[in-house]
C-alpha cells in the first residue's frame, strides 16, 4: 500500500466541484484552490450547457423565438417569456387587452411561487434536510397542475403570444388557484416552524457569506440576492410594467446580507406573490384575451429596444436591435443568475467549503439560464 500523500503545511490543492456534482445545481464547474477545508480561491467555469439562444434569436422570426425563452430558466419560465412578449409589444406598438395582462401577471406570480418552492426544497437539501424538499415539491405540484390546465405544459411553457395569450383561462383555473392560496399559506407556516425555526439551519446560515450592497452593485446582482443585502430594487415596483402598478404588494428587503437574509427574502416573496395572485383574481376583468387584429409576421421598426422584468431570480432584460426585418439584428439576454453567480468567486474566499456550498444554494442558480 502506498503512503498517503503528504502536503506541506502551506501547500494548497485544487478541488473540482462539478461540472456534474450533486452539490451544484446543474452543470456548473467550480475550480477551488483549497487549504484543507478552507477555500483560498475559487473560479467558476461556465459553458457546459451553452445553446446559443441569443444567436437563435437572430436567425428566427420573433414568433418562432417564443419557445426559446422558456428554456432559459426552466423553473420560472413564464417570467422570461413575459419579458419577451412585452419587449416586442412595446417596440411594435401592440396593445394588449387588460384581461390578458392580468392573466399574465397571475400566472407569472404562480410560477414565481413554484420556482421559490423548488429552490427552498433544493436549498434545504443542500444543507442536509430531505423532508422539506418533498413537502415543497408537493405544494409545487399543485401549481404545476394549475398551470398545465391553462398552458398545456408543466415546465417549458409557451403560452403568451404577442398581443395576448394562446387561450383563455377557464373557471377551473380560477377555482383551483383560489383553493391553492390558503393551502400555500398553511404550508408557509409549516415551513417556518420546520425549517426557519430550526437551530441547525440557523447556525449554518446566520452570518455566513455576508454580501455587501456594494459588492452586489459591483457585480450587478439583482433579485432576492440584492434585496437580502439591503438594496430595495424590484423592477415590478421601480419600473412597473404589465399591470403591476394596480397591485398592492411589498418588496421584502433585509439588511444583513447573509445567507439567512436571502432565504428570508424568498420566503417573504412567496407571501407577496400570493397577495398579487389574490388581487389579480379579484380584479380579473372580462373581455378578450387577444388584440382585435392578431399580429402576424411582426416586423419591428428600426431601433434599439430594451425591456426588463422581475423574474424569480432577479431582473431579466432583453435587448433587441432591429434593422426592420422579421428577425432581430442583435438580441441580447441579460440573465439575473449570471450576474448573481459572480458574487461567488469573491465572497467565498477564506470560507469553509460546506459554507460555500450553502452560500451557492442561497444564490438560487439555474445553470441553463446563465449559460444561454
Amino acid at each position: 500500500m502506498s503512503a498517503p500523500i503528504q502536503l506541506r503545511p502551506d501547500e494548497t490543492f485544487i478541488l473540482n466541484v462539478g461540472p456534474q456534482h450533486p452539490a451544484t445545481h446543474g452543470v456548473l464547474r467550480v475550480k477551488m484552490e483549497m487549504d484543507g477545508e478552507y477555500i483560498v480561491k475559487a473560479e467558476t467555469v461556465l459553458g457546459y450547457v451553452h445553446r446559443m439562444h441569443e444567436k437563435m434569436g437572430e436567425n428566427r422570426t420573433y414568433a418562432q423565438y417564443l419557445p426559446n425563452l422558456s428554456r432559459l430558466d426552466y423553473l420560472g419560465a413564464l417570467g422570461y417569456t413575459h419579458g419577451h412578449v412585452l419587449s416586442i409589444e412595446r417596440a411594435a406598438g401592440i396593445e394588449v387587452p387588460e384581461r390578458a395582462e392580468y392573466i399574465r401577471a397571475i400566472t407569472v406570480e404562480l410560477n414565481r411561487v413554484a420556482s421559490h418552492l423548488f429552490w427552498f426544497g433544493a436549498f434545504v437539501m443542500d444543507l442536509g434536510g430531505f423532508s422539506p424538499l418533498m413537502y415543497a415539491i408537493q405544494d409545487r405540484e399543485h401549481i404545476l397542475d394549475i398551470l398545465e390546465g391553462v398552458t398545456g405544459s408543466r415546465l417549458t411553457y409557451c403560452y403568451y403570444r404577442f398581443g395576448g395569450l394562446y387561450n383563455d383561462v377557464d373557471d377551473e383555473f380560477i377555482e383551483a388557484t383560489k383553493r391553492f392560496i390558503p393551502n400555500m399559506r398553511k404550508s408557509l407556516k409549516k415551513y417556518a416552524a420546520l425549517v426557519t425555526g430550526n437551530i441547525i439551519f440557523h447556525k449554518r446560515l446566520e452570518g455566513i457569506a455576508p454580501v455587501s450592497a456594494e459588492t452586489c452593485r459591483k457585480y450587478g446582482a439583482t433579485g432576492p440576492v440584492a434585496r437580502g443585502s439591503g438594496i430595495n430594487f424590484d423592477v415590478r415596483k421601480n419600473e412597473p410594467y404589465s399591470v403591476y402598478s394596480d397591485f398592492d404588494f411589498d418588496v421584502p428587503v433585509y439588511q444583513e446580507g447573509d445567507s439567512l437574509a436571502r432565504y428570508k427574502v424568498r420566503m417573504d416573496e412567496i407571501e407577496q406573490s400570493l397577495r398579487i395572485i389574490e388581487q389579480g383574481l379579484a380584479k380579473l376583468p372580462a373581455g378578450p384575451i387577444m388584440t382585435e387584429k392578431k399580429p402576424k409576421n411582426i416586423k419591428l421598426p428600426v431601433g434599439d429596444f430594451y425591456q426588463a422584468v422581475e423574474t424569480a431570480r432577479g431582473s431579466f432584460g432583453i435587448r433587441i436591435v432591429s434593422d426592420g426585418d422579421k428577425n432581430a439584428y442583435r438580441l441580447k439576454l441579460r440573465s439575473p443568475t449570471y450576474s448573481n453567480m459572480h458574487l461567488f468567486d469573491e465572497t467565498c474566499e477564506g470560507m469553509l467549503i460546506m459554507d460555500a456550498l450553502a452560500f451557492m444554494g442561497s444564490l438560487d442558480l439555474v445553470i441553463p439560464e446563465m449559460d444561454r
Binding site: P67, N68, Q138, E148, I199, I200
Partner: protein, 155 residues
C-alpha cells in the same frame, strides 16, 4: 455560558417541533400515484405531439397549404401533396390532396405555432404522453398513417 444552555434548550425545542410536523405527515392521505399501475387524467389542454384531425368523412381536414410547416420554429413538419382529379357537378377538377405528413418529434418544442397557424383547424395536440424509446427514429411520426389507423379503429 447562558448562550450555551439557551442553545441546548432552543435546539431541543426545534427538534421537537420538527418531529411533530414530520410525524403528522404520516397520517395525511397518500398523494403519490403508482404509475404505470395508476394513471391520472390528462388535463384537457395537455400538449402531446400534434395530430391530424379528420373531417366527417374520415379523411384529413388538411389541405396541404404548408402554413404549419413554415410557422414551425424547429422545422419538424414536412408534408407532400398530390394533385388528383375529382368530379364536381360533372366537371373534372384538380385538387391538392395530402399524401404525406411527417412529424419529427425529436425537435418539437410543443410551442403550438403550427396549431395556431392552421386556418383549417386541421391539427391539434394529441393526449399522447406514453412515449419512450431508445431509438430516435421512433419519434419520427407518420401522422397520416396514424390518422388512418385511428379512423379504422373507430369504424
Amino acid at each position: 455560558m447562558g448562550g450555551y444552555f439557551s442553545d441546548i434548550f432552543y435546539g431541543g425545542k426545534s427538534l421537537l417541533v420538527g418531529l411533530s410536523i414530520t410525524f403528522r405527515e404520516f397520517f395525511k392521505p397518500t398523494v403519490t400515484v403508482q404509475y404505470p399501475y395508476q394513471t391520472i387524467k390528462m388535463s384537457a389542454r395537455f400538449r402531446g405531439h400534434i395530430e391530424l384531425l379528420a373531417d366527417d368523412t374520415g379523411s384529413p381536414k388538411c389541405v396541404a397549404c404548408g402554413m404549419c410547416q413554415r410557422a414551425c420554429p424547429s422545422s419538424c413538419i414536412s408534408l407532400d401533396s398530390v394533385s388528383v382529379d375529382i368530379e364536381v357537378d360533372g366537371k373534372v377538377k384538380k385538387k391538392k390532396v395530402l399524401s404525406r405528413y411527417d412529424l419529427n418529434f425529436t425537435t418539437c418544442s410543443l410551442c403550438g405555432q403550427c396549431v395556431e397557424n392552421c386556418n383549417f383547424g386541421a391539427i391539434d395536440f394529441s393526449k399522447e404522453y406514453n412515449l419512450a424509446s431508445t431509438r430516435k427514429e421512433d419519434f419520427h411520426f407518420d401522422l397520416l398513417d396514424r390518422l388512418k389507423r385511428l379512423e379504422e379503429k373507430k369504424a
